[in-house]
């Protein structure tokens, strides 16, 4: 492995090739043969490269992050026996770290467990670890850690120096082991000598810290005999206490102590009760450890770090690492590393040639860490830009980032500014009873009066228990089982009939959904529950209040980047209820009911997005769809979690079976038990229908509660295989047709990554499944409208489903708060500001009460009423905005236009600076925007009641109707006014700006074209030939004239006449005419005239006369003259008639005939098409051109003739014509 990394660093192998090598087993044709040769001997190591790389980085960073939370990862050590690297000389001393985890040294019998597990799973021959530890001796030198799982516990950094192998070799101190090394506040890890004092440090164990090592068997000392202390399933379950023998020690006592303490903590819902001591697991803990400044100039080896960053980023991009967000967390840890633990100077001196090898430490200083982190972050920008606004802000403001990569900082800043993803961890809604359901809760559904009666009583007991739990569960010392256990069991005892069980389960499930529905989804209409009306009424102030409240109660940490599954908040009640009830019937009914509901919701046809109308308003509608998706998804996750909990409850234990034999027998037993829910089929369906974004998140919840055996069962193994395949395929950089939306992918990557870190999921699963992956193909029928391709996931949902992503933000925040925040977590001042919204609002208290009243009102009414009111409010609100746009805004735009006209008239043509004009207009008009609110209110007031009345049943009682109307008006007004007060000014600005630029543009280039443009008469049936046809015809004539042509080619005079006639018709009709076409026609007609004058048009007919006779030519010229005078509306370039080129045509004719030209010129003057002087000027300039001598003379004569007879009346023209032949000959002869 090290060999691969080294050859990468030496640039023998390109990163791209290496990633291809890792990602695909088959050799790609793109590979350079040299690279392939370098890599091919290492083939057997292929799948171990990624774990090696991850371990390597963790190892290397150990000096920098001595006290941060361990970054857990599930990267099993290389375990397969490896041949030595061919060609690579075995290095002298085997890396000390390769011996860090020699199996023989494990003292307790339980130490065998991990290897046994692994062996069993792999069905491999015997203790693979041993070979893993020693086999690849030649390869593991230097970094040497690949033989090891990378748990923090196995890092040799306890000694404070990686350069002291003796310490490391014997028995590595396990820093992440809280039992050995409880957090010691501000004391930086020094040399080993300080250890003893730490051991008696009474600092309580932070629950977060223990949470952040989900894979206990890797992150704590030899064996995890310690159930974690957080409120996970594992610990509070009755069997969670069984400690295997061999752990009785100080550790055990410590554990008991810790349990006791954590019990107190966890009784309260986790989010609500951060204890000061628990703090965050983040570097803030080492609060007063001042951060060393990082400087780009101090980076030791740019190239090397860049290369490693590149390969690491490529692995991230290809989803070769189990958990993307974990890696990001790690990178941010590096970015915010405070200082490097001192190293011996000799270590720091770069030995010659060390740069390209792994001999010298990768991170020699904080500078290196930050440089590396920033490099990786640059590659991960796409993911970063999708994080919430808060995280983006913290990143963008990070001074190290700015210092190391201003470009990235700029991009992040831009992303922050454009981000709308404000995410907050909201509090769970308060409990509210499930309303009476007439369709199921009535007598007819019960077998007897007595059963019905019992059910009614049970309902009451249930709520009593619930209320009591609500009141007491936060009190210290209160115990669920002690307080409620007997009552619950008594109640369950009364549920004798099966039918009563199903009724109770239905109630239980409904209540579960109602209470635990994550606050992100304010209940949609789908489920028919009563969601939080407060949030629906979501007034600005209420939202503010809520945010404030939330900050006060939000947990500082939800347990590191990879917390194990927990039951936070109200979920704890339901879990404890199930445990305390310990009723087989109840559990069975609950499973049935949960499975059914999951199937139902999973198959729910979620509405497609409507085609968007116009601008941003459709966002409002689209948000509704998103919200509905969020509600369904969150419900599914909740249900699946409980299904998983109940289904695997009987098998759950703290540890995998200790021996292989035992495990095999359990497997044999379990493999015949049918799954509670056919998740494999559902997953396959989901993938096929491109609904993975809905199916996978709940499936992950379900699997997260599986016991240790489950992943070994064939059935679930295939589920995992499928998930792994999916994970690998979710390459974020791929975009395009048929690809999943980015945030959808991110959600799936986050939940899957989390799943792969769950304690019960075998740690090597991720890396070992590969062989099967390739054989596996999901037949995704590309259905057009799969959910996967739709932007159904937003940041809010992402963070709700994966609160651990928020750890990134906390990590960054704690960096910002730095030494001042000794208590951990980020301290930010909350300054509630008053809104400056335009409309006056009723006092908050009244509003809150109103909201509660509305909620109460809906609670007692059928769900359809609520849906109707919401629908009406939403539509009327949206229509109101449109109406305002079409009326008020349009009026203002008209005003702006007239104001602008005035200004333009006043200021003359140039009109001043458009930007200034716009400014002054806006400042005049925008104040009128305030009217929008009044008008909007009126609109909603007027329109809503009618709509509500039309949609509700005729029989609705008057009082109900009027309340519904009122609420609808209120909601619609609120919606419209919220939008208007936020956007009206911008809207007016935008519209005015558009109008102004339109007007200014129109002012500009062609006022003539805009002016009077005569269309054809109304009677016209537009039968005239098309302009394109005429241009094409005239072009043919021109090309014939220009030649070359075949002897038989020519035009008939009739055709020419017809053509000009058609041109006239077309110019009168104008239906199909556009200005460019007319301009070209005008120009072509002038050229045609020139050809006529020069007699250059080849005429069809008897071979004797290949020329037009004079009379025909004159007739045609007359037609042209009248077209120019009467029909063309664009300027005709008549001066072209006298261009040297066109006049030059005459030079070619023998004998030259000037009479037509003279005739044409006079007619032009006569018809007022050209002025005498204009023609004179043209003729004058003609004489300057170079002509043959005789031609110049003739031209001069023509000029004189034209001048001599300035205003030739008709008769004289005739006379002129009579003398023409003579004059022509005279001219020719002269």
């Amino acid at each position: 492995m090290a060999a691969v990394l080294e050859s990468l660093l030496r640039e023998e192998v390109s990163v791209a090739a290496a990633v291809r090598w890792i990602a695909r087993s088959a050799q790609s044709s793109e590979d350079d043969p040299g690279e392939a040769a370098a890599l091919s001997p290492l083939r057997p190591l292929r799948k171990e490269f990624v774990p090696f790389l991850l371990n390597f980085l963790r190892e290397q960073s150990s000096r920098v992050l001595p006290q941060g939370p361990p970054t857990p990862a599930k990267a099993p050590g290389s375990s397969a026996a490896l041949p030595g690297r061919p060609g690579g000389p075995p290095r002298g001393s085997r890396g000390a770290r390769s011996q860090l985890f020699p199996p023989t040294q494990l003292p307790s019998p339980a130490a065998e467990v991990p290897s046994a597990r692994r062996g069993g799973r792999r069905r491999g021959p015997g203790p693979a670890r041993e070979r893993g530890g020693r086999g690849p001796a030649g390869l593991e030198e230097g970094a040497g850690g690949e033989g090891l799982p990378w748990a923090a516990s196995r890092r040799p950094r306890g000694s404070g120096s990686p350069g002291s192998p003796s310490l490391a070799r014997s028995d590595p101190p396990n820093l992440s082991n809280l039992e050995e090394f409880p957090p010691v506040g501000s004391v930086p890890l020094g040399p080993a000598g300080t250890k003893p004092s730490r051991r008696i440090n009474p600092t309580p164990v932070s629950e977060e810290r223990s949470l952040s090592k989900p894979k206990t068997c890797f992150t704590s000392p030899p064996i995890n005999c310690v159930p974690s202390s957080q409120p996970s399933v594992l610990d509070t379950s009755p069997w969670g206490h069984g400690l295997p023998p061999g752990c009785r020690s100080l550790q055990e006592e410590r554990e008991m102590l810790r349990k006791e303490r954590s019990k107190q903590l966890q009784q309260s819902p986790t989010p609500a009760c951060p204890t000061p001591e628990s703090g965050s697991p983040l570097p803030s803990r080492i609060g007063n450890l001042t951060a060393e400044p990082a400087d780009p100039a101090g980076v030791s080896s740019h190239r090397r770090l860049e290369l490693v960053a590149l390969i690491y980023s490529s692995c991230l991009a290809e989803n070769l690492v189990p958990n993307l967000f974990l890696e990001l967390f790690f990178i941010l840890q590096l970015l915010t590393a405070r200082r490097m633990v001192a190293v011996k100077d000799s270590d720091l001196e770069p030995s010659p040639g060390a740069l390209d090898s792994l001999e010298s430490p990768l991170f020699q200083s904080v500078h290196d860490c930050v440089f590396f982190a920033v490099q990786v972050l640059e590659h991960q920008f796409q993911v970063l830009s999708c994080l919430d606004k808060g995280t983006l802000k913290l990143l963008a403001e990070n001074e190290r980032l700015l210092c190391f990569s201003p470009a990235l900082q700029g991009r992040l800043q831009a992303a922050y500014e454009s981000s709308v993803a404000k995410v907050s961890l909201a509090m769970p809604p308060s409990a509210q009873a499930v309303s009476f359901q007439p369709e199921t809760d009535n007598r007819a559904n019960f077998s007897s009066d007595r059963a019905f009666h019992t059910f009614k009583k049970q309902r009451d007991v249930f709520y009593e228990v619930l209320r009591e739990w609500e009141d007491h569960h936060e009190q210290p010392g209160w115990d669920f089982e002690k307080g409620l256990g007997s009552r619950i069991r008594a109640m369950m005892g009364q549920l004798s009939a099966a039918c009563s069980h199903s009724h109770f389960v239905r109630l239980f499930q409904k209540q579960l959904l109602q209470m635990c529905q994550s606050p992100g989804g304010a209940g949609g209409p789908v489920l028919g529950e009563a969601p939080d009306v407060l949030s629906m009424l979501g007034a600005d102030k209420l939202g503010r209040l809520r945010r404030l409240q939330e900050r006060l109660v939000a947990p500082q940490s939800s347990g590191g980047p990879c917390p194990p599954p927990t039951f936070p908040g109200c979920q704890g009640f339901f879990r404890d209820f199930i445990l305390s009830a310990s009723s087989f019937q109840f559990n069975q009914h609950l499973m049935d009911s949960l499975s059914l509901k999951i199937r139902e919701l999973n198959g729910l046809a979620l509405p497609q997005p409507e085609p968007s109308d116009e601008d941003g308003e459709s966002d409002v509608d689209w948000q509704g769809e998103r919200r509905q998706f969020a509600v369904v998804l969150l419900s599914l996750r909740l249900l699946a979690k409980f299904l998983g909990f109940v289904a695997f409850l009987p098998y759950r234990g703290p540890e995998p079976p200790p021996t292989r034999e035992l495990q095999d027998s359990i497997l044999a037993l379990r493999s015949q038990v049918p799954p509670a829910l056919d998740v494999l089929a559902l997953l396959q369906q989901g993938l096929r229908a491109r609904r993975a974004v809905l199916t996978v998140p709940w499936l992950v919840e379900f699997l997260s509660l599986a016991d240790h055996i489950v992943p070994m069962l064939d059935y679930y193994r295939s589920v995992f295989t499928l998930l792994l395949h999916l994970h690998r395929s979710l390459v974020l950089s791929k975009e395009g047709e048929g690809e999943m939306c980015f945030l959808n992918k991110l959600l799936l990557l986050a939940v899957l990554g989390w799943l792969f870190q769950i304690p019960t999921v075998p740690e090597d699963l991720f890396f070992l499944e590969e062989g099967q992956l390739e054989a596996f193909e999901v037949d995704t029928v590309a259905s057009e409208h799969g959910l996967d391709g739709m932007p159904v996931v937003d940041q809010h949902l992402l963070y709700t489903c994966c609160p651990y992503i928020g750890e990134l933000r906390k990590l960054l925040a704690s960096w910002v708060s730095g030494s001042s925040a000794r208590s951990g977590g980020f301290v930010r001042k909350i300054t509630p500001t008053t809104t400056t919204s335009l409309g006056a609002q009723p006092p908050r208290t009244t509003q809150g009460l109103q909201a509660q009243l509305a909620q109460a009102f809906f609670h007692n009414q059928p769900p359809s009423l609520r849906r109707t009111v919401e629908f009406v409010a939403e539509r009327i609100g949206s229509n109101c905005v449109k109406h305002i746009k079409a009326t008020l805004v349009a009026d203002l735009v008209r005003q702006a236009e007239s104001l602008l006209q005035e200004q333009l008239v006043m200021q003359g043509q140039e009109g001043g600076d458009p930007a200034q004009l716009l400014e002054s207009l806006c400042s005049q008009l925008c104040p009128h925007g305030a009217q929008a609110l009044t008008q909007g209110r009126e609109f909603c007031q007027k329109k809503s009641p009618g709509a509500v009345r039309a949609l509700l049943p005729e029989e609705t009682p008057a009082a109900v109707l009027s309340s519904a109307e009122h609420i609808a008006v209120g909601l619609a007004t609120e919606k419209a006014c919220a939008w208007l007060s936020a956007n009206i000014t911008a809207l007016i600005r935008r519209e005015v700006k558009a109008a102004v630029s339109r007007l200014l543009r129109a002012q500009g280039p062609e006022p003539a074209a805009r002016g009077e443009r005569r269309g054809c008469s109304r009677a016209c049936e537009h039968h005239a030939p098309l302009p394109s046809h005429l241009i094409s015809e005239i072009k043919d004539v021109l090309s014939l004239a220009a030649g070359p042509r075949d002897p038989e080619e020519g035009v008939s005079p009739e055709h020419l006449e017809q053509l000009l006639g058609q041109l006239g018709q077309m110019l009168q009709c104008r239906q199909f005419l556009c200005p460019p076409a007319e301009q070209h026609l005008a120009k072509c007609s002038v050229e045609l005239a020139s050809l006529l004058v020069a007699d250059q048009i080849p005429v069809l007919g008897p071979p004797a006369q290949h020329q037009l006779d004079r009379g025909q030519a004159r007739r045609l010229l007359h037609m042209l003259l009248s077209l120019w005078k009467d029909n063309f509306q664009v300027p005709v370039p008549l001066q072209l008639l006298l261009s040297p080129r066109n006049v030059g045509l005459l030079a070619d004719t023998r004998p030259r005939e000037w009479d037509l030209l003279l005739f044409l010129l006079r007619e032009l003057v006569e018809k007022g098409l050209m002025g005498q002087t204009e023609i004179e000027a043209c003729l004058g300039s003609l004489r300057e051109a170079q002509w043959p001598g005789d031609f110049s003379e003739e031209l001069a004569t023509l000029f004189n003739l034209f001048l001599a007879e300035p205003h030739v009346p008709e008769p004289q023209l005739r006379a002129c014509e009579l003398v023409q032949p003579n004059r022509g000959t005279v001219l020719a002869q002269s």
Binding site: D1036, G1043, G1144
Partner: protein, 282 residues
């Protein structure tokens, strides 16, 4: 009238390395008397453009330009009235207008201090009398009027056809009482890329739903379908005008008929695009 693929192929076959001149078009008309001139010209033009796209580069190497210019100079030195430039273009199998542009550019480079701007060249091609050299002016003019696939006149004809068909289409829609928004209205609403018409109420034509109509006024061969799809139609689709697919159709004044090519690309689209052609479509 709708062209079959076989008919189209036959026409296209005839157009391999044929110069884009009046004579060629006349021969084509004689060969396919049943096709309208507009259809033949449109196909000719498209085929020829494909050919030019393929060979364009080799005529623009500096060696090629130099050798053309020398040949031109030699030619007009012998006889300025002969169609030197046109024959040169035909001989090297390049469009006369484009050849004229090459020579003109080269000429101006030689005779002016500053290299000629594009707009100057374009203006001279539009009106050769601006060209300082009379012989060259005539040569260029001859090339331009004789080229039926390139040049300012041809561009104008194409533009005119496009405009006419939009008008035709609008009339047709009005006549059929179909309510629509045209490009100007759509732009006023702030759409960046718009088709010619969006129907406010979709209609069904031969079993296909039509949401919008884009008039292309050119023959719809596979290649142009692909190009338009890529450049424009997907943009409409992306903007969720809920639309887009194939169809070539043939309207010549007043008649709307549509046919559906069985091209694979189209299969992915569920809706329908109507393209209106001056001639027949595939």
């Amino acid at each position: 009238m709708i062209l079959t693929k076989a008919q189209y192929d036959e026409i296209a076959q005839c157009l391999v390395s044929v110069p884009p001149t009046r004579q060629s078009l006349r021969k084509l008309k004689q060969r396919f008397p049943s096709q309208s001139q507009a259809t033949l010209l449109s196909i000719f033009s498209q085929e020829y453009q494909k050919h030019i796209k393929r060979t364009h580069a080799k005529h623009h190497t500096s060696e090629a330009i130099e050798s053309y210019y020398q040949r031109y100079l030699n030619g007009v030195g012998k006889n300025g009235a002969a169609p030197v430039l046109l024959e040169l273009a035909n001989e090297v199998d390049y469009a006369p207008s484009l050849m004229a542009r090459i020579i003109l550019e080269r000429f101006l480079q030689e005779h002016e201090e500053t290299p000629p701007s594009k707009s100057v060249i374009n203006s001279m091609l539009r009106d050769p009398s601006q060209i300082p050299d009379g012989v060259l002016a005539n040569q260029v003019y001859q090339c331009v009027v004789n080229d039926c696939c390139y040049g300012p006149l041809v561009d104008c004809i194409k533009h005119a056809i496009g405009h006419e068909h939009e008008v035709l289409l609008r009339d047709l829609l009005l006549e059929k009482n179909l309510s629509f928004l045209d490009e100007d209205q759509l732009r006023a609403k702030g759409y960046d890329k718009t088709p010619d018409f969006i129907l406010q109420v979709p209609v069904a034509v031969e079993g296909h739903i039509i949401h919008w109509i884009e008039s292309k006024a050119s023959f719809g061969d596979e290649c142009s379908h692909h190009a338009y799809l890529h450049d424009q139609f997907w943009s409409y689709w992306n903007r969720d005008y809920q639309i887009a697919t194939e169809t070539t159709c043939n309207t010549y004044p007043g008649k709307l008929s549509i046919c559906f090519p069985n091209l694979e690309v189209w299969a992915r689209l569920s809706h329908l695009l109507v393209r209106i052609y001056p001639g027949a479509g595939l």
